[in-house]
């Protein structure tokens, strides 16, 4: 029997580990047990606090247990306020320690391009298997050179509105144009049922309303070459309309709202319509005894969804993309890559997708065909919202500069300053000079 010394044993077992690591998910599944290398490996996944709490519970329980069983990886899912994710990401990158995978919102991956690992192989495989990514998912998670993260989902945004209140002022459907919406909003506000819209520093609701308003009037941050073209007649018109719409139709407390304020206001019956994800409807539907209308009927039965109206330049929307970034500083790169491939795979993702009940559409087009969209006609408008959605930076590239402008809330503050009394021309001039500093 040949003698195996300590050095040789180490060499052999190392080779075994490498083989296990390079075998891919298929090899792991074929083996029917987790590879030895991953035993005891712990991965930290940082995400937002989901507006659908059942999804967080699913990730922290069933998915975590399944992950341990399938991959031998102990998954630690941490959920925090979405507004704090950027701060956590910066701290983790600068200290070189933190979550292995961070689920970024909006176009934030562009800000952290130098600090994320290349996951092109995983992203391309997921895209190929699941019908291809939406343009929006690609534009925020890919910088033209590589994939900065694997697109996870897109949270659909539509206007949730009170059907009976709209009907009471003569509107049987959601308005088609901004002028119609303003006319309707005036009547509703006069009845003490204003439209509610956030106009503060928050990642979701403010951009999803105010950017489409800008685009629908023909305003743009930059042209295709990346030259700042915000200061235009179209932008000024959109700001003028925004101010009038705010005064005539909106709950003026929206200047101090965060992304959950409009949910609370709508569920409490103080606003008639708000641009939001489907969480208002889903939460109301989940607790029909708790959330009721003024007649004592379940509130969810009086909620419908409509897409933002069109302006002189057309109809636009902004949907909220999520991207899983594999952080470059992570010490468990190989395990994290396996995890990403696993959690984005159809069977695992399906569990999470079902728990969302339509709140998120997938990052790929295949999920448009999921039977979930046939279950509830009120949720049907969300099925295709991600098609043709536009993103900050438009008409320029949605690159790091666009991400910086969004993170500084320049477009939101342009409208907020005008609403607070600054002349629209002056507010546009201010925003333009701020953008020029970024795009210089």
């Amino acid at each position: 029997m040949p003698r195996i010394n300590r050095r040789k044993l180490l060499k052999l077992s190392g080779a075994g580990a490498v083989a296990a690591r390079t075998g891919g998910l298929a090899a792991i599944l074929a083996a029917g047990k987790a590879p030895a290398y991953a035993q005891g490996t712990t991965l930290h996944w940082l995400r937002w606090n989901d507006f659908i709490p059942q999804s967080d519970a699913l990730l922290k329980n069933q998915i975590t247990q399944q992950c341990a069983k399938d991959l031998g990886i102990t998954l630690s899912v941490e959920t925090i306020n979405g507004n704090d994710i950027q701060a956590r990401t910066t701290a983790a990158i600068q200290s070189g320690a933190g979550p292995d995978v961070i689920c970024a919102l909006n176009n934030w991956p562009q800000l952290y391009a130098e600090s994320t690992a290349d996951v092109s192989d995983i992203a391309e495989q997921v895209g190929k298997d699941q019908g291809g990514f939406y343009d929006e998912s690609t534009s925020v998670a890919n910088n033209g050179k590589r994939w900065l993260g694997v697109p996870w989902c897109i949270v659909g945004n539509e206007s949730s509105y009170r059907k009976s209140w709209f009907e009471a002022v003569g509107h049987n459907k959601f308005p088609e144009t901004w002028d119609e919406y303003r006319d309707l909003g005036k009547k509703l506000k006069a009845k003490g049922q204003p439209i509610g819209q956030a106009l503060g520093h928050s990642f979701g609701d403010p951009p999803s309303f105010w950017y489409p308003l800008l685009w629908s009037y023909g305003g743009m941050e930059a042209d295709k070459g990346g030259k700042v073209v915000l200061n235009s007649k179209e932008t000024i018109e959109s700001v003028k309309f925004g101010v009038a719409f705010w005064k005539d139709c909106c709950d003026e407390g929206g200047l101090a709202w965060d992304d959950s304020s409009n949910n609370r206001a709508f569920l409490a019956g103080t606003i008639s319509s708000t641009e939001n994800g489907a969480s208002i409807y889903l939460v109301a539907k989940g607790a029909p005894d708790k959330y009721q209308d003024e007649k004592g009927q379940p509130l969810y039965k009086d909620i419908l969804h409509g897409s933002l109206p069109k302006g002189p330049a057309g109809k636009f929307s902004y949907q909220l993309p999520h991207t899983n970034m594999l952080m470059g500083y992570g010490k468990q790169q190989d395990a994290a890559r396996k995890f990403l491939a696993w959690v984005h795979s159809k069977p695992v993702y399906q569990e999470w997708f079902d728990s969302q009940a339509g709140y998120s559409v997938g990052a790929t087009t295949a999920w448009e065909n999921d039977p979930i969209w046939n279950k509830d006609p009120v949720m049907a408008p969300f099925r295709t919202v991600a098609r043709g959605a536009q993103f900050p930076g438009y008409a320029g590239p949605p690159d790091r500069r666009a991400a910086e402008a969004l993170s500084k809330y320049i477009i939101i503050d342009m409208y907020a300053k005008a609403v607070q009394g600054m002349a629209p021309e002056e507010a546009v001039q201010w925003a333009t000079s701020e953008l020029q500093k970024i795009y210089a």
Partner: protein, 313 residues
């Protein structure tokens, strides 16, 4: 063995042996250095190093994950033309000045009340400290609910008392939002002033008050000519500490308004955080933070000079 050898060995055994370290520490210069070393290391690690790192960052174009290059004073020049930075500077001075004056006035008033004898004095004194004890984030969240644009309990109360007919937009109006953060800061800071000044009041000899009263001095005269001069050293120290804390305040504004609406309540610290940590522009964030330094340095120098003067007297 020679007799002399035995004698010398015995004599040597009678003197305790001294190691090299002991001999070194008997030298006052080395002992002083050894005693100062832990403090110096702590100060170096947790104060000097971050400060130097901050200074270095402020003269580079570093972004999150990108070390950056030396750009001289470009970041400070950019601040000069930054309208939001100018708002943050103005807000910080207004916030500090107004909040400090109110904290001093209310704190002194409360201290004078608590210095009297009444039933339940010990309980009241402990109760007064509550705003100071509760973590700032928690208490500020409670205030956020009270100022909530839709569900404000303050508005509800004023409305039901018939004092208002329309909702007050506490955190959505730029002026009211700044007033709101000042109110919460005063609420939180008054106990610190009250308890510190109460401690100062208790060192004032009651006989001086009695003597002044016998001489016919009225309450106000006794306070102004006897109590206040004796309380002044404590007041100065408390005031200077409070100014430093208020000037560099972060968590209260961050939780209550996030610097909004539209940057109307940004302070140095919140704006530095938004730019440096939120947006990842580390160098610009560091430059905003460092812009606080000259003012805080002046405050600290004044404080140290005053303390030295008091010690001399």
């Amino acid at each position: 063995m020679a007799v002399s050898d035995l004698v010398s060995q015995r004599a040597f055994a009678g003197v305790p042996r001294r190691g090299a370290a002991t001999r070194l520490l008997e030298d006052e210069r080395w002992l002083a250095a050894a005693l100062l070393a832990p403090t110096a290391i702590l100060l170096g690690l947790f104060i000097a190093y971050p400060f130097c790192e901050g200074v270095w960052l402020s003269v580079t174009d570093a972004r999150v994950g990108v070390p950056g290059h030396f750009v001289g004073l470009d970041n400070f020049a950019a601040l000069w033309n930054d309208s939001i930075f100018r708002v943050a500077v103005w807000n910080t001075f207004v916030y500090t000045a107004v909040a400090s004056v109110f904290k001093l006035g209310l704190g002194l008033w409360l201290a004078l009340l608590l210095n009297r004898s009444f039933r339940g004095k010990a309980f009241t004194r402990a109760f007064i400290l509550l705003p100071f004890i509760i973590p700032t984030v928690l208490s500020t969240l409670a205030w956020k609910w009270m100022f909530d644009p839709t569900f404000s309990v303050i508005n509800w109360t004023l409305f039901h008392l018939g004092l208002i007919h329309a909702r007050i937009n506490w955190l959505g109006d730029p002026v009211l939002a700044l007033i709101s953060v000042i109110v919460v800061n005063v609420w939180r800071g008054v106990p610190f002033f009250a308890i510190s000044l109460l401690a100062g009041l208790q060192t004032v000899n009651p006989e001086l008050q009695e003597a002044a009263a016998i001489d016919g001095a009225r309450a106000w005269q006794r306070f102004w000519h006897v109590t206040w001069p004796l309380l002044l050293p404590v007041t100065m120290v408390v005031m200077l500490f409070s100014i430093i804390q208020t000037f560099s305040d972060f968590q209260l504004v961050y939780v209550l308004t996030g610097g909004g609406p539209a940057n109307a309540t940004q302070l140095f610290a919140t704006y530095a955080y938004q730019i440096g940590v939120g947006t990842g522009l580390l160098s610009q964030g560091a430059a905003i933070s460092l812009a606080m330094f000259p003012f805080l340095l002046i405050v600290v120098v004044v404080q140290l000079l005053y303390i030295r003067r008091v010690e001399v007297h």
